[in-house]
Symmetry: C2
Subunit: 373 residues, 2 copies
């Protein structure tokens, strides 16, 4: 084979304003350089225990089974599904964007029957529609996305939807990838049974860990499974035996990413969740006002618009990819294009975690003025 | 919920001489602190491409489908199995330790029928036994562990076993977790169809990525699957569409761990594979001589003994856990105990990657002299 040597790593200093990863705080980056310790070292078990306590605060839950799955947000989605879905189960999925689509695909791969409530990308789902579907057929699980990263829509009324699910004997699964740490996610108050997120969005850590929390109803379903989980790596029983006593070996944990997640969670808790949500709101308003002035109005109406991810509508004829390339190459700013139903129609601008800063908003708006003039 | 704040991360400086993670080079740790870039940033796609080229060098293969799965070594094992095994397939697994056992368990979870050739822990498997089994029954896949981390045994004659597998229409899958980068792993010369490893062993990077390589025979099997892979996250078709053009979004890659893996691979290639293997041999000999002098002779006979992981036999009556605890608490040295059939009978001492250094061996031997006196 070809013997090639490569130069020292030398990346540009990007301003990350896409749908994730967001920028990591210097504090988070610094702990990443900490020398490794073993995955069964008592010091590491303490780190994991502290992470669990911090995750419970951020998820606003008392759920014992709250941990971080050893993969990216997509692994969180897979863990949230494969542990609870068995072949032949019926699952109802709300599809208001790409991540709802993906929920359907993952569920189907585990042999379950999927029914979908589908709305045009950009809409949220009226709880009444969900209630009607739950009345018509019995489902084991109702899955939906809280903050749809592909559209910029916040699904409201999670508490009402959870209550309807429980009335009809279904578990409620919530994708909180683009909300956790940036928007209220109140697992216990809303009575959500299963929720997952990613480390790299509003928690501003490097990707590689997926927080997940599982409530008592879901835990009972897990305990009563008839078949072993068709996914050894993401089997929550194996994972929880490692996270909790007896701390039995399962896999070799991504040590450095745990250092980072613990630090990112510490930062979130130090800032305070309410203050953090307020900061995300304030910077989002600054962005929205600027986008309106640039004639790039947000696609999503104010009342269901995410503060963590905004989807400005593009004027027809705009060179979508070309302008994003200029933003990246000339100003080191990353934003993302739309995809699926929204390809070429919107951009996706994330203001998450450490990226949600007024200086980033002003710079982006100034750069947009330059390139769109 | 309880509101708790935790202190700044403050871990001890450990000498990692267990079965992994090994110590990371300061160069690797330093790149971990590099600010994030996006997972679709052209600069990141270049990093991935360079990683693939470096991985091919280390795996000694021309296999196009060579990449790093976004999880730890266990995810590598799962990816190597779930993509090639379908419900109803017959798989033959050689079990000479814990990781052979785990291969059986993962295969079974994907609905395949598992036959096992089992030997006492500490043995390697005679290729003749494998040939006989292959003659008796047709298997889709033969899976075995190259370097058994639970016992310290190197399985020899991989080339001969691969040839037998191919003669009987089976693919050969090799677990190279504790060999890749520390011992010869010659994928093309041996004609291995599927192999995987972990970033945190002889490549001395933080855990979180699992190198995998797939040859043409296995790729054909992948292309001819009748059912979708029952694991969205580790589906090699989705992963390869991200790693290769069109670089379609699949998951948000663990950016920082890729920085690290690229650096760890650069270091391996700069050192040169032959020089690296020689270093591992030399330091292993230093360890073995010292262990013999301490009356802790290696369990595994010289001709099938790993240079990357040694399993000294413990004298009866030794306080296994207590002495390991002293090593960790008094000298900051991590080694591991035996488990399964070897619990209480051996220790596991890893000399992998950056951990394989004469100063580490001398320190460990000196500390053992202190605590065993």
């Amino acid at each position: 084979m070809k013997e090639t040597q490569f130069k020292e790593l030398d990346t540009s200093q990007r301003i990350l304003l896409g749908p994730g990863p967001s920028m990591a705080s210097p504090r988070v980056l610094r702990v990443m350089a900490t020398p490794l310790i073993g995955h069964l070292d008592p010091q590491f078990l303490t780190i994991m225990d502290e992470e669990q306590q911090l995750l419970r605060q951020v998820f606003q839950t008392e759920n014992q089974l709250t941990l971080a799955v050893p993969g990216t947000g997509s692994a969180g989605m897979e863990a949230a599904l494969c542990n609870f879905v068995e072949s032949g189960d019926s699952v109802l999925v709300i599809v208001i964007g790409y991540f709802g689509e993906r929920l359907c695909e993952v569920v189907a791969r585990y042999g379950a029957e999927v029914d979908r409530i589908e709305l045009p990308w950009g809409e949220a789902c009226d709880p009444q529609i969900i209630k009607k579907a739950l009345q018509k057929k019995r489902y084991k699980l109702l899955a939906l996305v809280h903050a749809e990263t592909s559209t910029g829509v916040l699904q409201p009324a999670i508490s009402e939807i959870a209550s309807a699910a429980h009335t009809h004997g279904a578990l409620l699964l919530l994708d909180a990838v683009t909300s956790l740490g940036g928007l209220p996610v109140e697992i216990d108050a809303w009575d959500v049974d299963i929720a997952y997120s990613g480390s790299q969005k509003c928690l501003s850590c490097p990707p590689g860990l997926a927080p997940i929390t599982v409530g008592p109803r879901a835990r009972e379903v897990l305990d009563k499974r008839l078949t072993p989980v068709a996914n050894w790596y993401l089997d929550l029983k194996g994972l929880s035996k490692y996270w909790e006593p007896p701390h039995a070996y399962h896999h070799t944990s991504p040590i450095s990413t745990h250092y980072a997640l613990r630090e990112g969670l510490r930062i979130a808790v130090e800032e305070g969740l309410e203050a953090r949500f307020a900061r995300h709101r304030k910077n989002a308003h600054l962005l929205w006002d600027g986008l309106e002035a640039l004639n790039l109005p947000p696609l999503v109406p104010y009342d269901r618009r995410l503060t963590t991810l905004t989807t400005p509508q593009l004027p027809s004829g705009l060179d979508d990819a070309g302008q994003r390339k200029r933003l990246l190459e000339e100003y080191n700013i990353e934003i993302a294009g739309g995809f699926g139903q929204l390809a070429g129609k919107v951009w996706r601008i994330g203001l998450m975690g450490y990226s949600s800063r007024p200086e980033n908003v002003l710079l982006l708006l100034a750069a947009l003025r330059e390139i769109l003039e």
